[in-house]
């Protein structure tokens, strides 16, 4: 870059200006990164400080339970179960839709489907909650009956089937639809970045389209799929309104997916109990928030570890 002696030197003001731009840019990005860290630390400190008194809360503030752990465990169970069901449904669906968009559908249709899926992300969660409780739930009732009649020997479908359809499975379905857009969007992006070179290598060997996807597309996108699912999981774990509207506030540990007596989730429980909570009761709710915070953090952290490990072997 250094100019040869014959050409005039670059005018100093221009150089100085560019420097200032660099400094400003670097400064502002550092400040932004700093703000994020400070905010995160602030939340963690708040949750911890306000949550500690919950450990000494008495039965009156723990809905009759003797310890905080006994109080929080059913909620944690419900949170994890709902999120797990949601991902079980959303992941294959999202991967299928993303593949259809990136590799199967004609361009025009693919764009349309992609657009519709993106729109799903813009629907407020309260709408999903109302829809789940008033439309999806009742519509699923015959399915739940059938499941509890024919597969009732499994603890998952023990029943009795809920008459209103406000069950764990409904909550999982609603969460799945809510997690779908983010997982689909990321998977679609990753699938379409598969190097053409490797897709053609597979096709030229006589691979069908599906075989090509298994040979060339999936190996490239494995780590991306994991991060996409983890982001979806983040959404499912923290979702409040939709679950609060679908599930009644029970605190039980039950694997029954089709009965109306289903475990609630941490976020929904906070939303439903907060208005009536007083004194240490507030601390108890905040402490459950801390549990959710830690779980979400752990999930994201382990996802990054998985991604980093699987990317090490991949020479791009």
């Amino acid at each position: 870059m250094s100019a040869p002696t014959t050409s005039p030197p670059a005018p100093p003001p221009a150089r100085a200006k560019r420097r200032i731009g660099d400094v400003l840019f670097r400064g502002s990005t550092q400040v932004a990164a700093g703000i994020i860290l400070v905010a995160l630390a602030g939340v963690a400190i708040f949750l911890t400080a306000e949550g500690i008194p919950a450990l000494r809360a008495d039965a009156a503030h723990l809905a009759g339970e003797s310890t905080f752990l006994a109080y929080a465990w059913p909620l944690l169970f419900g949170t994890l179960l709902a999120a797990f069901i949601a991902l079980l449904i959303a992941t294959p669906l999202a991967i299928g839709v993303a593949l259809a968009i990136s590799h199967y559908a004609p361009r025009r249709l693919a764009n349309l489907v992609g657009y519709v899926i993106d729109l799903l992300a813009a629907v407020p969660s309260v709408v999903y909650g109302l829809w789940g409780a008033n439309v999806l739930g009742p519509a699923m009732v015959p399915v739940y009956r059938w499941l509890s009649e024919h597969l009732g020997f499994l603890p998952l479908f023990a029943g009795p089937a809920s008459g209103g359809g406000r069950t764990m499975l409904t909550a999982g379905l609603v969460l799945a639809i809510m997690a779908l857009p983010i997982i689909t969007a990321i998977c679609r992006e990753i699938f379409s970045q598969t190097p053409r070179l490797h897709e053609e290598a597979a096709l030229a060997l006589g691979a069908t389209r599906w075989e090509m996807i298994r040979m060339a597309v999936f190996p490239y996108s494995r780590s991306g799929i994991v991060s996409a699912v983890m982001l979806g999981l983040g959404r499912a774990l923290g979702e409040t309104m939709a679950v609060a509207l679908v599930l009644s506030a029970f605190r039980i540990v039950s694997w029954d997916l089709v009965s109306g007596t289903a475990p609630s989730t941490i976020a929904a429980n906070i939303a439903l109990s907060f208005p009536e909570a007083t004194g240490v009761g507030v601390n108890v709710l905040i402490a459950t928030g801390l549990v959710l915070f830690v779980i979400t953090f752990a999930v994201n952290f382990s996802a990054r570890m998985i991604v980093a490990r699987s990317e090490k072997g991949l020479v791009r």
Partner: protein, 259 residues
Amino acid sequence: MATSIDVSDLDIYYGDFKAVEGVTMSIPAKSVTAFIGPSGCGKSTFLRSLNRMHEVVPGARVDGRVVMGGQDLYGSDVDPVEVRRQVGMVFQRPNPFPTMSIYENVLAGNRLNSRRMKKSEADDIVERALRGANLWKEVSDRLDKPGAGLSGGQQQRLCIARAIAVEPQVLLMDEPCSALDPISTSAIEDLIHELRTEYTIVIVTHNMQQAARFSEDTAFFNLAGAGKPGRLVEMNSTKKIFSVPDDPSTEAYISGRFG
């Protein structure tokens, strides 16, 4: 088992754009046929129409006949996937599957074709293909290492091994040496020379000496004019093309007066 290819009046399109027009040629079995011509005249496009790889580009299609072993590859009852299993292809940039070992890379095509293979059977195929691609000595002690860890020239020979592992009739190569250093290039050239005894080989090359050195026949492609489709100018024995070509533009191209 190698077979000849007869192309008659082939037009090749990308959507509405006609990239190649009216090619008629006969590619002899068990010999090396070279395609030469300036960039953009449709050599790659034509080559890819010989194993129906052309149509993987959205909107791409052809019009005409490509007959191999008595069958029109573009017949209505012909499955392009089957065609590609008969006609192997090696690309300009080496493209082994990055997550697969050397061993699995060689077997990639066979795994598609077959039900389960016995381990001993698979071992045999891998050794035969790697020996056939002059790569066995260099990699036999690290078959389980990723293919992407090899040098560019070794990767290209791995791709050739992968292509011949399924014992195709025809091997298409699109400038297989253009991304390689001179030593790797000469290793591949030697290899192509050996492979001719078993396969019908069609190779696109930008390197005149290369075409002159190891091909039996040479086809010269050119653009009819700016914005016009590419066409086959002449196809003759390599000896004739490089000494007394029929067409003046062939001679001009070869002697470096344009292109």
